[in-house]
Amino acid sequence: MKPAGSPALFHQTVAALAAQLEARQLSAVELMRAVIARTEAVEERVQAFNSHDAADALAQAAASDARRAAGQARGPLDGIPVGLKDVIAVEGQPLTASSRMLANFVSPYDGTAARKLKAAGAVCWGRLNLDEFAMGSSTENSAFRTTRNPWDLERVPGGSSGGSAAAVAAGEAIVSFGSDTGGSIRQPAALCGIVGMKPTYGLVSRYGLIAFASSLDQIGPFARTVEDAAIALGAVAGHDPLDSTSVPVEVPDYRAELAKRRGPWKLGIPKEYFGAGLDPEVGAAVEAAIGHYRKLGCQVREISLPHTKYAVGAYYIIATAECSSNLSRYDGIRYGHRAAGAKDVVDLYFQSRAEGFGAEVKRRIILGTYVLSSGYYDAYYLRAQKVRTLIRRDFLEAYKEVDAILTPTSPTPAFKRGEKAADPLAMYLSDTYTIGVNLAGLPGLSLPCGFTRDGLPIGLQIIGQPFAEAELLAIAQAYERDHDWVGRHPEL
């Protein structure tokens, strides 16, 4: 681990780089070159990207420099290399979902997140690896590569947005975006020692995000600091008429709000999140973080989220049901993988999908098809929706007494590659602490709160109230300000 000081360009924050760009001490092209060089140096080991196009990124960076020279810079993200999980549609770039099914698919359109990032001047840099169709917690389910954890290449970066987390941790992108359906931003952020945020459901448009489970999916940022996360979130948040589930709320300037919100806050510690299965080192680090909030004058109290134990079960019914339908469009007819030599159309469906999807995707499609089947719908899907309502009620009840909730992000630090790959249930349980947030539609953030003795990062999860992202970020920054975890970078 390097001490904090004047880090290499590719390890710096958006805030610091934006200041240098603004002061003309740095050009976007220079920054992009530094990130490309870093990527070339480490990517073989990290394997964060499915693809990247250096020439295209440099052209985008040059356009940013030209804007700035013309006095038309668009704000702090202008000229910043932003990595995108390979489920976020950017016109003219590959969009594979790390699936054979879409191995050769190039998006003919910009999703809303991409359109907004371009409008903010960001350089859309590379397609970041994930568990196929965002189904997994280790990025081992990618059809193309296994992304490594930059802190220990033998370990997983978490998932499903493992590529997005690893790229930022390894200096291959300054910030990145992922998607979070059950923890797919927060868990890899925790395992890779960076900040990751899942916004309130409906804050960020899903138009152009390959759907896994529509009622749970949200796009969110990965960043080195809370301030960078605030900048990145601000660029993509806001109502979108192209997404019916997008909510028309006022989007504040999250970065400016940080300075205005100083607490102290009332914080809740849900007892259900500190039970069996929690790694002692993770538990100790989270307890220490809670202690720090006490020192800051926050009132900390134990709370109960009594339906927590049903969250994983309800989640795997709802998410699989939705995915079984969402993934029906991948049929080999209009685009995507089409099997050769099919006898008829039914055979074409069977073969194309058998060849195009990996084992975990198939498992979830089968589960989801089953729970929606005639005669099972009421017992599974309908009941899971009722559980979901109860889980949301638990949180809203708690928010009558507290401003935010603190928990571990992941029960364990990064696990070894292959450790859970053969045991889907163990893998599903690694999302225990993050899933409730998706079911309840709440914003959640993971930020670094220490390292294990083996040097693996540990994440603290802070869960906020609906659309209270500004408060959530401020609470996170209050902790971050007093710790130097941000200055640490993995040795690669």
């Binding site: 489920v87 976020i88 549609a89 969009l95 979902a97 879409l102 698919f105 998006s107 003919p108 359109y109 999703g111 899903r206 138009y207 152009g208 995000l209 390959i210 759907a211 489970a213 529509s214 009622s215 008429p241 192209l242 997404d243 019916s244 589930t245 049901a321 939705e322 079984s324 339908s325 029906s328 469009r329 991948y330 049929d331 007819i333 209009r334 685009y335 159309v345 039914v346 469906y349 098809t369 929606l372 089947s373 005639s374 719908y377 899907y381």
Partner: protein
């Protein structure tokens, strides 16, 4: 044994809107393949549906016109099944909460003769829901091709109760439903363009039996006549099965209107499990009272209500209303001319004879064209002058043509055609004398008491007068001379 048929219809009606049900791309027909597409229509990765409120307006309006109960919330479900014409491999539809429930369609059965109104009855509806249309799959020697232009077009499914008893009733149902849809501006219902499509569920049972028999679903009935023929054929087929002691199997059959035969498509065992569930991409939409009130205000009078009103208020015969009423614009035009002229019968006759002739032979492009070229006020002026005898029936056609091609007033046309130059009494008397002299048989008939024989003289008089004689004056002169003869 005596059997009765029990028929329920499922009618798909394409809703007329500018854009598709869930995307901003235009809805349309007859364009080059796959030009009305976008990421949503093609179900590209990441694309999301957004409801077209105009389509919901249309179906709510349809529901109001048909007396349905309108749901307080419009909720969307996914109907999952794989087929190449369905881009998402699920169809966004409404499963357990259709936007409209109940209601009915008033139908008119064929009368005893063309000029006699038939029996009216109400066929209750089960529900109406909104969904999206699929693309068009076609096959040729080179393989199969799909055109997604139609995919995503707003589509209404109207389901009747099994309350129809004959092929004629089904025909009347579709005719009446179509008229309501066109009246409301909800759909053009052009079956050739697939804007109205019909499936029928048909069963038979011993007359008087309350329990329904095993139903057969008949598909691809792509014209209203094919619906009638297909249902009649299916009823005959089921009766034949029953009469030889066979069992009717629950199945879906395909009716070929060209050959008049049907064949089995699939049996009940192969029925789909559509795995319906609420579409998580679409939030339920509240349809409040203000919304309904706005649409209620846009609802026109229904065709049969208008017919009853025309018959009663204007005292015009069924032969006129049955022609005027099915076309809302023509009915509107009639009503204005009738009111302005105060001569509804004459106005109606003129429209269904002269104006429809202009429409049929292409001199008029449509009712709006009629309205532009012969505005109701001008038509009413003409009708009044006809009624007053200033324009004889012999002269009417010429005046009508002049109105169509020019902008001159009726008076100017009368003057220009010399119709105002009335024959003097001496001239008229001479024509009458000539006519009587020229037709001794009619004279004899008249003398022996056959009143109508007088008409035998009128023709030659009017012909000789070339439109310059007033029919009433001709009648009087003839009677005076005949009395003396």
């Amino acid at each position: 044994m005596n059997y009765e048929a029990v028929i329920g219809l499922e009618v798909h009606v394409q809703v007329r809107t500018k854009s598709k049900m869930f995307s901003r791309t235009a809805a349309g027909y007859g364009l080059p393949a796959n030009t009305l597409t976008d990421p949503v229509v093609l179900a590209l990765p990441g694309a999301l549906p957004v409801m077209n409120r105009a389509a919901l307006d249309q179906v709510v309006k349809a529901g109001l016109l048909l007396g349905c109960e309108i749901a307080a919330v419009c909720k969307w479900d996914r109907k999952n099944y794989f087929y190449p014409d369905s881009p998402k491999n699920y169809q966004i539809s409404q499963y357990d909460q259709p936007i409209c429930a109940g209601g009915s369609v008033e139908i008119e059965l064929p009368g005893a003769a063309r000029n006699v109104m038939g029996e009216h009855k109400r066929i209750p509806l089960t529900r109406i829901h909104l969904e999206e249309d699929v693309g068009k799959l076609s096959h040729d020697a080179g393989g199969s091709v799909i055109d997604f232009n139609r995919a995503g077009t707003p589509l209404m499914e109207i389901v009747s109760e099994p309350a129809l008893r004959s092929a004629d009733e089904a025909f009347a149902f579709l005719t009446a439903l179509k008229a309501v849809m066109i009246y409301g501006g909800i759909s053009d219902c052009d079956m050739e363009k697939g804007q109205l499509r019909c499936d029928a569920n048909i069963s038979i049972r011993p007359a008087g039996e309350a329990k329904l028999g095993t139903k057969v679903e008949l598909k691809n009935l792509n014209s209203i006549s094919f619906v009638r023929d297909g249902i009649a054929h299916e009823i005959r087929r089921q009766l034949a099965v029953a009469e030889r002691g066979g069992t009717i199997v629950q199945e879906t059959r395909d009716y070929d209107g060209q050959t008049g035969a049907s064949q089995s498509l699939r049996s009940k065992e192969m029925a789909h499990d559509y795995r319906y569930f609420p579409d998580p991409d679409l939030m339920p939409v509240r349809v409040d009272e203000a919304w309904k009130a706005r649409l209620r205000a846009e609802c026109p009078e229904l065709p049969f209500d208008r017919q009853r009103r025309f018959l009663e208020r204007y005292q015009v015969p069924y032969t006129i209303t049955s022609v005027l009423v099915p076309d809302r614009e023509l009915g509107d035009y009639f009503e204005e001319v009738a009111q302005l002229s105060g001569e509804p019968h004459l106005a109606g006759n003129w429209i269904i004879n002269t104006c429809l002739q202009f429409l049929n032979d292409g001199q008029l492009a449509g009712v709006p064209d009629l309205r532009t070229k012969i505005p109701p006020a001008r038509a009413a002026d003409f009708i009044r002058k006809r009624a007053a005898g200033a324009i004889t029936s012999a002269a009417a056609a010429g005046v009508s043509s002049a109105m169509l091609t020019g902008t001159a007033s009726t008076d100017e046309i009368i003057k220009a055609q010399g119709l105002d130059a009335r024959a003097d009494a001496g001239e008229l008397e001479q024509w009458c004398r000539d006519a009587i002299a020229g037709n001794p048989k009619a004279l004899a008939d008249f003398k022996s008491g056959k009143e109508s024989a007088i008409n035998g003289f009128k023709g030659p008089v009017m012909k000789a007068a070339k439109g310059k004689a007033d029919p009433r004056q001709v009648d009087e002169t003839l009677r005076r001379l005949l009395a003396q003869a």
